[in-house]
Point group: C2
Chain length 284, copies 2
Amino acid sequence: VSTTASFPDRFAAARAKFGPLTFGLDPSGDLLRRWGLEDTPDGVERFVDIALAASAGTVGVVKPQSAFYERHGWRGVRALDRLVSEARSDGVLVLLDVKRGDVGSTNTAYAEAYLAPGAPIAADAITVTAYLGFDALEPFFAAAATAGGAGVFVVTRSSNPDGRPLQESVGANGKAVEVALLDALAARNRAVAPDGVGPFGSVFAANHGPPSGTDLRSMGGLFLAPGLGTQGASPADVAACFASCPDRVLPSASRSLLDVGPDVGRLRDAVSDLASALNDSLRA
Amino acid sequence: VSTTASFPDRFAAARAKFGPLTFGLDPSGDLLRRWGLEDTPDGVERFVDIALAASAGTVGVVKPQSAFYERHGWRGVRALDRLVSEARSDGVLVLLDVKRGDVGSTNTAYAEAYLAPGAPIAADAITVTAYLGFDALEPFFAAAATAGGAGVFVVTRSSNPDGRPLQESVGANGKAVEVALLDALAARNRAVAPDGVGPFGSVFAANHGPPSGTDLRSMGGLFLAPGLGTQGASPADVAACFASCPDRVLPSASRSLLDVGPDVGRLRDAVSDLASALNDSLRA
């Protein structure tokens, strides 16, 4: 797959080789301690070394959660920078979980930070949030729509129960907030990839069951399904939720895999086992 | 005012001395070029030098927008770190505009990054977003509720028209999303500051007019009113929107002030003039 391929094409190639699993790389203070590392920027650097060794040649996509790097300030962000660039050099796709979202002019700056050609931390894809409006996300979409562009995953349905009241609120158009986002993403994907899979994705948790009255395949893009394991979703939940588009979902697991570390061999085995189980349950 | 005072008390003291103006410190690529600076981490460091010189002794609160530092990667975040710590050493309050928001466990990590005692970038207050649920913001609220704690401003009504469809959507309780957030903030402020002003604030734009049927004073907290000038709100709009609580609003301006730079004297004059105009229009 050429580096000018779209993010969905890059994911399809990675999935064919390693399965759909997305490995969440979240160095919480608690995890660092359990791995015998200091809860310091140096500890995060050591975490990055181990995470890179466990990921290269084992998994297709990694998903660092920015918060766990930011909690060590600029030195933590420097470790994240190294993780992103070395993982990509190793042929691993990086979906950076930053959940940025602001007004359009500010989103332009965030797109320059994480998606644009020459961005200081250039990810294959990022997560964004839409409280300030779907149309305000345009700078992210513009960066994603270019050849060799990135993927953008708009948080639509989150795994936590706290998110339901807002995400189920109903707009003036009669649609729930989460349904309106799926429809808006579908319109954009149709415009750039009428017959394929477009770069405008959705973060959509599987643990609340399949959405009623909506065929997720019709969104025309990829789904990040967070919270496998720790947050309550099983591979079977993921298969049920995305039954119409099993080849378009990136199921993500973090704590349940990292808990077997820091031994690289054991991490690789846990990642491979879960990737294989997901391959079976998400056969297209 | 002691360093163990609440954020609303620290703001009240700053307001008495300098007026309510919040000076937005947004080093966009465009602004750096107009100031004759490179659009590089070094250029951002020079911007920080000038911004600090213009702010100390001139304004009570500064509001750096994180996106414009993140677009220079970890070196940009290092410049932001210096801005935050030196501004606070100079006696200027720092409201860091990061608009973070995720599930609760991730929000704990973000609170450790920006609000906790000993945080690597410890701000007086930050902005957060609630797409993943109001209750998921609990780690931020916990950090804000401690003695000498921080302020937290939940984005409620944004200045951009794109934000209206989601923010006006109606929940199962019959309330618009933005009204539900105001009510939830009010309940939390009543619990910790029944007779005063609590630490749980709202980002609430003045340019859509006053909210119908809601007395903003009843929220019991502070308001950040973004977008003064460039985004269309005038001091009169701010006075009309917050007529019931003129002493609780932080009107923020960035581009309209920065455009007179990079001369420190001219920046100080522009800041003082606008602060004085806002003092007149927001007389309590």
